[in-house]
C-alpha cells in the first residue's frame, strides 16, 4: 500500500484533515434511517481491499500523527496505560498479536523476524528497531503491552476472563469517547458498561457477555460504534474534560460543518492464547460533517439518524448541544427520497 503519513494535530490547532481516499474508505456506520443499539457482531475476516476491514489491525495515513498524540497524552498522564500485575501473560500475547499483524499486513513498514524466542522487530515509520527475548521483560525498554500499544492506532482494553465474567484489567486508552481507564480499570463487563442507558434494559450486555465468554482463538469478531465530537480531538477523556468541555458549546450555524465530527469506532475482539484473555481494540475514525456531505447518500442518512435519535441516547453520546445545528445544516441536502439500506457512499 502506498501511503504517505500525515503531519497533523488532534489538539490545540487541530490541523487534522482527511484525504479524499480517507473519506471514501471511512467506516460510515448507519445502514438504516434509525439507529438503535444492537450486539451487531460479525466475524473479523479479511474485508474488502482498501477498506478499514481489510487487515487484522488497520493502519492509515494518520498513523504517525496518532502515535505522537498518544505520546503526548501519556507524558502528561501515565495512568492512561494500566496493566494489573496478573496480566503479564496477556501483555506478551498482545505484543505478539500487534507485531505479527502489522508485519504480515504492512511488510513495507514493519518487519518481524524470529529465531525461537529471539525476536527482531523493525517499525520503519516510527524508526524503532528492537531485538528482544519473547517472555523476558528485561530485554525490552518498557513492559510489552505499553511497548506495542504505543505503536498501534486506537485504544486497547484487555480483559481477564474469570468467574463467568470479563474484567478490564489492562488498557492503553488515549483516544476514548469519554470514559476513564484510571477509574474503570478492574471493573467487570457489566460494571464498566453501567453508565450506558437503555441497552442494559434490553439485555444487550447479558447477551454480549455470554457471547464473548465463548470467543475462540482464531475467530476474532468486530462491530462498529459511533459518537460525535467537536474538533478532531482524540483525547476526549473525562480527565481532560476541562480542556475540551468548552468546545461543546462553541458550535454555531456557521462553523458546524467544520467543527463537528462523526467519530466511528471499529471495535475488534480477539481471544489471546496464553492468557485466555480477550483484547478489545477500539479504533476511532474521525470525519467532519462537511466531509461526510461529500457523498449525498451519507448526508441524507446522517440527517435522518440524528433527527430520529432517542433523546437519552443523544444525551449519553453528548450530542445535545449541537445535534440540532447539524440537522439544520444537513437538512437542505435531504430530499426525503428512499435511499434503501446499507452504509455505502454511492
Amino acid at each position: 500500500m502506498n501511503m504517505a503519513f500525515k503531519n497533523e494535530t488532534f489538539r490545540d490547532d487541530y490541523t487534522f484533515t482527511n484525504s479524499p481516499e480517507a473519506i471514501r474508505r471511512f467506516p460510515f456506520p448507519f445502514d438504516k434511517d434509525e439507529y438503535m443499539y444492537s450486539v451487531n457482531i460479525e466475524q473479523h475476516t479479511k474485508g474488502a481491499p482498501g477498506s478499514v476491514f481489510e487487515n487484522v489491525i488497520d493502519l492509515d495515513e494518520h498513523y504517525l500523527a496518532e502515535c505522537e498524540d498518544r505520546r503526548i497524552t501519556l507524558a502528561d498522564d501515565p495512568d492512561r496505560c494500566i496493566a494489573l500485575p496478573h496480566m503479564m501473560d496477556a501483555q506478551w500475547d498482545m505484543l505478539e498479536l500487534g507485531m505479527e499483524s502489522l508485519a504480515k499486513d504492512f511488510p513495507e513498514h514493519f518487519q518481524l523476524s524470529r529465531d525461537g524466542d529471539n525476536w527482531h522487530w523493525v517499525n520503519k515509520p516510527l524508526d524503532i528497531e528492537q531485538k528482544f527475548v519473547f517472555g523476558d521483560l528485561s530485554t525490552l525498554p518498557m513492559e510489552p503491552f505499553e511497548f506495542i500499544s504505543r505503536q498501534l492506532q486506537g485504544d486497547w482494553v484487555v480483559m481477564d476472563q474469570r468467574d463467568e465474567d470479563l474484567f478490564a484489567d489492562m488498557g492503553m486508552v488515549t483516544s476514548q469517547a469519554d470514559w476513564s481507564l484510571a477509574f474503570d480499570a478492574g471493573m467487570s463487563f457489566k460494571e464498566w458498561h453501567g453508565p450506558v442507558p437503555q441497552a442494559n434494559e434490553m439485555g444487550i450486555f447479558e447477551r454480549a457477555l455470554k457471547y464473548l465468554l465463548h470467543l475462540q482463538y482464531g475467530s476474532p469478531v468486530r462491530r462498529l460504534n459511533w459518537t460525535m465530537t467537536v474538533n478532531p480531538r482524540l483525547d476526549t477523556s473525562p480527565e481532560n474534560y476541562p480542556i475540551w468541555g468548552p468546545d461543546n458549546v462553541s458550535v454555531t450555524a456557521n462553523n458546524v460543518a467544520d467543527k463537528v465530527f462523526l467519530r466511528v469506532e471499529l471495535q475488534t475482539l480477539f481471544r489471546l492464547p496464553r492468557s485466555n484473555a480477550i483484547t478489545f481494540g477500539i479504533r476511532g475514525y474521525l470525519i467532519s460533517v462537511r466531509d461526510i456531505a461529500t457523498y449525498p447518500r451519507w448526508a441524507k442518512r446522517l440527517h435522518r439518524v440524528l433527527t430520529n435519535l432517542h433523546p437519552d441516547l443523544a444525551e449519553y453520546k453528548g450530542l445535545t448541544n449541537y445535534r440540532q445545528l447539524v440537522i439544520d445544516w444537513l437538512a437542505p441536502m435531504d430530499d426525503g427520497a428512499d435511499i434503501g439500506e446499507g452504509t455505502h457512499p454511492e
Binding site: H86, M87, D89, D160, Q161, R162, D163, K210, H214, Q216, Y217, G218, S219, P273, R274, S275, N276
Partner: protein
C-alpha cells in the same frame, strides 16, 4: 468454527485402558498456543457418522510443535474412545478444533489446589506447566485406583516435585476433602476433575466448609446419554430431523447438514443453547449449564447432551 488438520504422530499405551496420542499439523507448522486447562474437540468418522469428542490438552503450552491428549477406553460408550483406541494409529488423519479453555486457572488465586481422579488428571497436566512457569503456589492431589492405573505418575513427580500427592485406592489411601479444604489460606482456588462421585464430594465439602462457589472449579465432560428416538423440528427452516436413540440432538442436526452452534459438547458451556417452542412430551435435561429454574421452565435445552421423551420437539433454529 475453525478447524486444524492434524496427523497422529505417535500412540503410546500408558496403562491397560489409557492411550496417549500425539498430533502434529499437516502443514508442518506449529500448532496454536494455548492456556493450561484447554481442550480440543476431535472429529471422528465412525461407521459413516461424525462423532465429536472433547479431550483435554496434556502437552505443555510452551511447546506447541505437537499436542498430546490421553483417552481412557470406555466400552459402554457411544464409541468415541473405542474408536480412538482401536482405529487411530500413527499416520491417521483427524480434524480438531482450536483449543478452547473452560477450565482456566484463576489468575488472582494466591494458591491453587488441583484434585484429579483417574483420567481426570489430563487437564491438570497443561495447567501445571503454566503454574510452574508462573512460579505459582499449588498442590496436586491425584487419586487413582491401583498402581496399574497410575497414568503419568513419573512425569508428574518430575514436573511437580513435592507439590504432588498420590492416593492409591488399592492401598487404602483416599483424599480427605475435609482435611484438604479445611486448612487453605485466603485466596486459594480449588479445581477438580474426575469421576462424578468425587467431584460431587469435593463440591459439597467445599460448600459446607464455607468456600465461596466462585473459588471452586470443576471440569466434567458429560457424554451424551442414550434414550428414545424423537423428532426435532427446526422452527425457522421447518426442517424435521429424527434423533436416533444413540445420537445426541446436536449430532443428529449436524448429520442433517444443520450448522448448529456448539463449543464444549459436554453440557457445560451453554453455547449450543436452543429455545424450545413446543413439545408433546417432557424435556430430559442432562447438562450442567441451565439453572434448576430454567430446567423446570422447559423453554431452553442444550442439544449436545439433553434429550426429550416425546414424539415432537420444536426448537427455534
Amino acid at each position: 468454527m475453525s478447524v486444524l488438520n492434524v496427523t497422529v504422530e505417535k500412540v503410546e499405551q500408558i496403562t491397560d485402558v489409557v492411550k496417549q496420542f500425539t498430533f502434529v499439523q499437516d502443514n508442518g507448522e506449529a500448532l496454536p498456543k494455548f492456556s493450561g486447562g484447554s481442550h480440543v474437540v476431535v472429529s471422528m468418522d465412525i461407521n459413516g457418522r461424525t462423532h465429536r469428542n472433547p479431550y483435554s490438552l496434556m502437552s505443555s503450552p510452551a511447546n506447541t510443535d505437537s499436542y498430546q491428549i490421553a483417552v481412557r477406553r470406555q466400552d459402554k460408550s457411544r464409541g468415541g474412545s473405542v474408536f480412538m483406541h482401536d482405529q487411530v494409529k500413527p499416520g491417521t488423519k483427524l480434524t480438531i478444533t482450536y483449543p478452547v479453555n473452560l477450565f482456566a486457572i484463576n489468575r488472582l488465586g494466591k494458591k491453587h489446589i488441583l484434585v484429579a481422579g483417574g483420567i481426570g488428571i489430563t487437564p491438570f497436566m497443561s495447567q501445571i506447566a503454566d503454574l510452574n512457569r508462573l512460579g505459582a503456589d499449588y498442590e496436586l492431589h491425584y487419586a487413582y485406583r491401583s498402581s496399574e492405573h497410575a497414568a503419568f505418575r513419573e512425569q508428574l513427580e518430575e514436573l511437580c516435585g513435592d507439590r504432588v500427592h498420590f492416593y492409591v485406592e488399592g492401598d487404602g489411601t483416599r483424599i480427605d476433602f475435609g482435611d484438604l479444604l479445611g486448612q487453605q489460606p485466603l485466596g486459594t482456588h480449588a479445581y477438580v476433575c474426575g469421576p462424578e462421585p468425587m467431584v460431587k464430594m469435593m463440591l459439597l465439602t467445599a460448600k459446607y466448609l464455607g468456600w465461596p462457589s466462585n473459588h471452586v472449579h470443576s471440569e466434567q465432560f458429560l457424554a451424551p446419554p442414550v434414550g428414545d428416538e424423537f423428532t426435532v423440528v427446526l422452527n425457522q427452516s421447518a426442517k424435521e430431523i429424527v434423533v436416533p436413540g444413540d445420537m445426541s440432538m446436536l449430532e443428529a442436526m449436524e448429520e442433517a447438514g444443520v450448522d448448529a452452534p456448539f463449543l464444549c459438547r459436554g453440557g457445560a458451556c451453554g453455547r449450543c443453547e436452543l429455545d424450545v417452542l413446543e413439545t408433546d412430551g417432557a424435556l430430559l435435561h442432562h447438562d450442567h449449564y441451565l439453572s434448576d429454574a430454567e430446567k423446570a421452565a422447559g423453554n431452553k435445552i442444550m442439544p449436545c447432551v439433553s434429550r426429550a421423551k416425546c414424539t415432537r420437539l420444536v426448537v427455534n433454529l
